[in-house]
């Protein structure tokens, strides 16, 4: 650098040198490191969507999205009454209208009927940076307005949080009515993640238990007592076609698909006491995984399909164990407390979510498998059956309120909680679908 320049360029270089030397001297410029935050909900406004068809819109897309985002607990939603203007296109948005209210993001859009169904145009605007984050269109078949709204919620959620949204997913659960009476009935139901569009997959006079999803979301497995004793069934959602998989002597319980969908882990007690088995769905071959005089039950798979975690009382009280399906190496995972059961491993493989008893009260808790720390997520007392949303942000579980079984949702960090609008009867055994 020094030797390369010609004489003519020297002055400017020299000046530059002086400037470089002085510049930093003249400026003490602050450098600050911030290591904490408040994690308050981010203010977001979802403007009512404009309807560009004739007559009145079937339903306001904006309202469905607003409820979706509000449920996530990450956002403080602005009520439409409080909005100073109701733009439906980014060009119509006046930044000041939103900035004065401290709103950080505005989602707006419109829907119009097309020949093939519905088309939504929607945009997300960053108010403080005055920047359009996206401006897109999405189509849906007729009558799928809610699905369209959930897709838009997913899109906005992912943009704002960095995590895929799980608003377009579904829930399975069992509703029991008139329990302990002559008219006792059980229904296996499926609904959207927000509780809407509930439909009955199976109705029975006998108990239905342990429903869970195939990884592609097309099939469910469950235990039904319809023949008077427990048997495991497979049912295609779209066609309703059912198949009985096992009805051995004794217990047939807790079926769960492996992550690749080719196997089922389940519990059988044909050998005398409950043990974990693996059923190959292609060959229909059954393989015994655990062989212990204690009770082994409630299996589930690790995300990589390499291991099954289950509850066993082999150490005295119920605790969570993990067994490698090939090597059958076994490892105890939980040590805090004298009752830990019904575990599910989060997709990151680091956290376990399970039912944890403390002072005689059953809570949903997580355990960091690296550090061993247990965090209790729920405050209610009879919490059971946690099932994790496919984006890993929330878990749904069954609990009791005013003597009735209801479903509730808690975020994996315990910060956000909500209850699902309770229907009639006793609701129990929820299972959150994979991404659909």
């Amino acid at each position: 650098m020094v030797l390369a320049f010609s004489g003519r360029r020297l002055p400017s270089l020299l000046l530059l040198w002086v400037a470089l030397a002085l510049g930093p001297l003249a400026r003490g410029e602050l450098a600050i490191e911030i290591t904490q935050g408040v994690d308050a909900p981010v203010p977001v406004a979802v403007v009512p969507f404009a309807w560009q068809g004739r007559g009145r819109p079937p339903e306001d897309l904006g309202k469905i999205i607003r409820f979706d985002l509000a449920r996530s607990g990450q956002f403080a939603m602005t009520a439409p009454e409080d909005m100073l203007s109701l733009p439906s296109r980014p060009e119509e948005l006046y930044v000041r209208d939103w900035r004065v209210q401290g709103i950080a993001y505005v989602l707006l859009g419109s829907v119009r009927p097309t020949e093939s169904g519905l088309e939504a145009r929607y945009a997300l605007f960053d108010v403080f940076a005055e920047r359009l984050l996206f401006d897109e269109t999405l189509e849906a078949p007729p009558g799928q307005l809610r699905a369209l709204a959930h897709r838009i919620s997913d899109r906005a959620y992912e943009q704002l949080t960095g995590i895929p949204g799980a608003f377009s997913t579904r829930l399975l659960y069992v509703v029991a009515q008139n329990i302990a009476t002559e008219a006792e009935t059980f229904r296996l139901e499926m609904a959207d993640a927000d509780g809407a569009n509930a439909q009955t997959l199976l109705k029975s006079r006998e108990p239905i238990l342990s429903a869970s999803w195939s990884p592609d979301g097309q099939t469910v497995v469950y235990v039904s007592f319809e023949t008077g004793k427990p048997a495991i069934y497979l049912q295609e959602i779209a066609t309703g076609r059912r198949e009985k998989l096992t009805d051995f002597e004794g217990l047939n319980g807790s079926p769960v698909f492996s992550p690749d969908g080719k196997q089922l882990a389940l519990v059988l007690s044909a050998g005398g006491n409950p043990d974990i088995f693996v059923l190959d769905l292609e060959t229909r071959k059954l393989r015994q995984l655990t062989r212990h005089f204690a009770i082994d039950t409630e299996p589930s798979w690790t995300a990589d399909g390499e291991a099954v975690i289950f509850t066993s009382n082999r150490g005295g009280g119920p605790q969570i164990y993990k067994m490698n399906v090939r090597s059958r190496a076994i490892e105890r995972l939980t040590f805090v407390g004298d009752y830990n059961a019904r575990a599910r491993m989060l997709a990151d493989g680091r956290y376990l979510i399970f039912v944890h008893r403390q002072d005689g009260i059953f809570h949903i808790a997580t355990q960091d498998l690296e550090r061993g720390t247990v965090q209790i997520l729920t405050e209610t007392s009879l919490d059971e059956s946690p099932s994790v949303a496919p984006n890993g942000s929330m878990a749904i579980y069954a609990t009791r309120s005013n003597g009735r079984g209801i479903l509730a949702v808690v975020s994996i960090d315990g910060r956000v909680k909500y209850r699902l609008p309770s229907t009639e009867g006793d609701v129990r055994e929820p299972a959150w679908s994979p991404f659909l």
Partner: protein, 238 residues
């Protein structure tokens, strides 16, 4: 080559300037290089770590000028102490700025540098050293710390991290402020790799603005016209 001789004087000035600069650096070297404050009064207050941003700039210049170096060696006693200077450069910057005339406070264009350079050279070197020593290690006006803390508290109170944020993520934003405390621009100078995280930091800054800044234009220019903020959460669960 003949043209080079014409620039002998400017070169000499420049060398002299370096000597002074090195002297200042070394004079300051013995003092604690950075402030580390912890507010116990406010639990929300994050750890305040003042890394001095301009340090990287002066660093390359001794290396980049191999030729002047030998001549510099011949000059004053401070030279020996200057050896470890790269580490010590940090706290130095503000002092000479104050030594320089107040009227030249905004050091923008290269033009005004020349007079100020002469004036720097004109000031009594020993006096400068003495002033340096008496300033008790901190060469910043006392008020800077409280404005800095206020700026940080405002940002902290507005920073809502997305659920995808993890301990260990880190991004740098450069804030450009005007003397009324308003935010002119926020620039992402180093991304965390997570767009949602970066945006949460940017949003925190924009929501926290305007800021309280010192009224003294010289102090404002020195410390608050451009502020670099690092966002690196350490209180998250993951």
């Amino acid at each position: 080559m003949a043209g080079l001789r014409a620039y002998l004087w400017p070169l000499a000035w420049a060398l002299l300037f370096h000597v002074v600069a090195l002297g200042l650096f070394s004079a300051n070297w013995s003092s604690p290089p950075a402030l580390r404050q912890n507010s116990t009064a406010e639990p929300m207050m994050a750890e305040l770590l003042t890394l001095v941003a301009p340090a990287p700039k002066p660093a390359p210049k001794p290396k980049a000028k191999p030729r002047p170096a030998p001549k510099t060696k011949a000059t004053p006693k401070t030279q020996k102490k200057a050896a470890p200077a790269p580490l010590a450069e940090a706290p130095a910057p503000a002092r000479p700025e104050k030594a320089a005339p107040e009227r030249n406070a905004p050091p923008a264009a290269p033009e005004p540098e020349k007079p100020s350079l002469q004036e720097v050279l004109g000031t009594d070197f020993e006096d400068a050293l003495a002033a340096e020593a008496s300033s008790d290690g901190s060469d910043r006006p006392e008020a800077v710390g409280s404005y800095e803390a206020d700026l940080m508290a405002r940002i902290v109170s507005q920073w809502s991290r997305p659920p995808s944020a993890r301990n260990g993520m880190s991004c740098d934003l450069r804030l450009a402020l005007v003397p009324t405390g308003e935010l002119v621009s926020v620039t992402l100078v180093r991304s965390s790799g997570n767009a949602a995280f970066d945006r949460s930091a940017e949003l925190a800054v924009r929501r926290a603005a305007p800021f309280q800044v010192p009224e003294d234009p010289a102090v404002f220019d020195a410390y608050f016209r451009s502020v670099t903020v690092t966002f690196s959460p350490n209180d998250l669960r993951y």
